[in-house]
């Protein structure tokens, strides 16, 4: 009965479902984006098995952190530290690609081992003028080993292509640390130092002793850094804001549709009440209709978001990674239900409360 009532006003129902679709789709899409970004940043932080990240004091944002090498001198000797890895992390424009990520790393340290060269050669100590490109940026820029690339006015020869499976990294590059410092005029500076500890059980102790011994640094476990990234937080709140507005919008649309439907069917409501239908039954009839509408919108919204995610991942060169998991689908359906109940509650209550006699005398 609910579906047939919905089918009465095909155009209106379709538009309503479409409105909800757009709302739920933007929500799920944004959640997938946030999920992807979070996962990506976390895995970048944990790359090569780093247990602790040492950044400039007070700068949670990786891009803004500047450590001088003297700040962290002797870090390797802190008890409990197994290995350290220096890293300079920069973003620049290369050819037409605006978010070219450059990792300046040192040979022989654990982070560089994380970049698996799948084509061409890895870097050697003599390779200051050479660069490793991620698989995705290489195919985007149509570069192969032996080709040249210009970074901030400096020519680099592509030594090899690597693939880590992380979208940020596969859209980035690796050069030797000294080279990176020179190219970006940051001699003697680092973005961070990645630290491996001997025993994970003593992680907190090691963290405390580094903080005590080095005044100008901030020590964090990778996951914390990821969650504290300011730009991510900003994106996260923007995404939540947009999602909220989208869902609110859907609620208003559905309320409007149902108020009209209740109004048009006033006489029918009177007949049902005269035939002995309880208020509750009338209420449920309308709630079932709103739920059917919102669930249809929810399902097509999720489908739309998944399709959008798929297209973005596979047919564009954006660095934004997408990750849709079951939770996002559950949220999508949950919001659709919430929106149906919220949006449908007022019209349904109004329908249920109608005086049967007035309703019977109503003419549309």
């Amino acid at each position: 009965m609910a579906l047939r009532n919905i089918a009465r006003r095909k155009a209106r129902s379709t538009l309503t479902v479409l409105g909800i679709t757009v709302g739920i789709a933007s929500m799920v899409f944004l959640m997938s984006m946030m999920g992807g970004l979070d996962a990506q940043v976390t895995s970048i932080m944990e790359r090569g098995g780093a247990d602790l990240l040492v950044l400039q004091r007070g700068s949670f944002d990786l891009m803004l952190s500047r450590l001088s090498e003297s700040d962290v001198k002797g870090l390797q000797q802190v008890p409990g530290v197994e290995a350290i890895s220096y890293s300079l992390f920069m973003v620049t424009k290369v050819e037409n690609y605006p978010y070219f990520i450059v990792n300046g790393l040192r040979l022989g340290e654990f982070t560089i081992g994380h970049f698996d060269v799948v084509e061409g050669e890895g870097l050697t100590p003599a390779d200051e003028g050479k660069i490793l490109l991620g698989r995705k940026i290489a195919s985007h820029l149509k570069k192969r080993p032996g080709d040249e690339i210009v970074l901030q006015g400096n020519r680099f020869e592509v030594a090899g292509i690597y693939e880590t499976g992380l979208r940020f990294e596969d859209f980035g590059s690796v050069i030797l640390l000294e080279g990176a410092q020179r190219v970006f005029d940051l001699e003697g500076f680092l973005s961070l130092v990645e630290v491996k500890v001997v025993d994970l059980a003593s992680l907190e102790e090691v963290k405390a002793s580094i903080s005590r011994a080095f005044t100008n640094v901030e020590v964090n476990v990778p996951r914390e850094v990821a969650s504290k990234q300011e730009d991510l937080q900003l994106i996260r709140s923007a995404a939540s804001g947009v999602s909220l507005v989208a869902v609110l919008f859907g609620t208003i649309i559905i309320t409007n549709t149902m108020i009209m439907s209740v109004y048009e069917r006033t006489r029918e409501i009177g007949i049902l009440r005269a035939l002995g239908w309880r208020k509750r039954s009338v209420l449920l009839m309308f709630l079932r209709e709103t739920l059917a509408l919102s669930l249809m919108g929810g399902a097509s919204g999720i489908a739309m978001a998944l399709a959008g995610t798929y297209l973005l991942e596979n047919f564009t060169s954006t660095v934004i990674p997408m990750r849709t998991d079951l939770l996002h689908v559950v949220y999508g359906i949950g919001s659709a239900i919430a929106l149906g109940v919220l949006g449908g509650a007022y019209p349904a209550v109004r329908a249920a409360r109608m005086d049967p006699i007035e309703a019977l005398g109503h003419e549309v």
Partner: protein, 280 residues
């Protein structure tokens, strides 16, 4: 009149703001009666029906159905659902549902299995001669057929009473007559008590008893079954009858001789006849 009183109104009063829609109506309806309530618009007949059907609450007085006062019932919806079958004037059916689904609507509120609902709805539709229209939507049915579906729906929960508000109001004379005949047959065969509100004399004269309401009061009531009355009604609907009621006199020797007309206006007998006809 024989038979047990199954529905009674005592001093039934209804006020809408300042408007006195009903002024202390006392009425007793017996089991199996086929009753009509007549009156001009605004006489309170629909209000009376609504109060008897528990669609509305009286300002004063009470409705007693099968010995129980409606005001004391805990579950008024269930009462309407099980004891009363309603038939309205127009837009009576749910347009998205087929005939059989419309008949099932009241049963959805009672604990009847889906299979039984269907079976009973089908039986009810067959009893009103619509066995071949089960899956038709209201817009695929004629006005008379729609009203027959409504009657089948009123019968669905096997109620003791059928309350009909202008059931022929939107039908042509012939179809209206058939609908009344159908109701009469159901009354006779199934023993249901019918209370029909109408302003149509043709309908009223086919019922056992007519209650005349005027300004919220019972003006008078009468059993309509007499030959004389039928003849009078027939006469009133004739050309001459209408002329007398409308005081349009005419020159006609035999009629002037009978004293019906006199010098181009109603004569003494004409005035008497007019007051009789007006009272019908």
């Amino acid at each position: 009149m024989e038979g047990e009183v199954v529905l009674e109104t005592r001093n039934l009063t209804k006020l809408y703001g300042q408007l006195h829609a009903l002024k202390g109506v006392n009425l007793r309806v017996r089991r199996g009666e086929f009753l009509s309530v007549m009156g001009p618009s605004g006489s309170g007949k629909t209000t009376l029906l609504n109060l008897m059907g528990a669609l509305d609450r009286p300002t004063d007085g009470e409705v007693i159905v099968q010995g129980k006062a409606l005001g004391e019932l805990m579950d008024i919806d269930a009462f309407r659902n099980r004891k009363i079958g309603f038939v309205f004037q127009f837009q009576n059916l749910i347009p998205t549902l087929t005939a059989i689904e419309n008949v099932e609507v009241p049963m959805q509120e009672s604990r009847i299995s889906r299979g039984e609902r269907r079976e009973r709805a089908e039986r009810a539709l067959r009893s009103v001669g619509l066995g071949d229209r089960l899956d038709h939507k209201p817009n695929q049915l004629s006005g008379g057929e729609r009203q027959r579906v409504a009657i089948a729906r009123a019968l669905a929960n096997d109620p003791a009473f059928i309350l009909a508000d202008e059931p022929t109001g939107e039908l042509d004379t012939e179809t209206g007559r058939m609908i009344v005949e159908l109701m009469k047959r159901i009354n006779r065969e199934q023993g249901k008590t019918f209370i029909i509100v109408t302003h149509n004399l043709e309908v009223a004269k086919r019922t056992d008893r007519v209650i005349h309401l005027r300004d919220g009061e019972i003006e008078r009531e009468e059993a309509v079954r007499s030959e004389l009355l039928e003849d009078l009604i027939h006469f009133m609907n004739s050309e001459l009858g209408r002329k007398i009621v409308n005081m349009e006199a005419e020159r006609d020797e035999p009629l002037e001789w009978l004293g019906i007309f006199e010098d181009g206006r109603l004569g003494r007998s004409g005035e008497t006849l007019r007051s009789v006809l007006k009272g019908l």
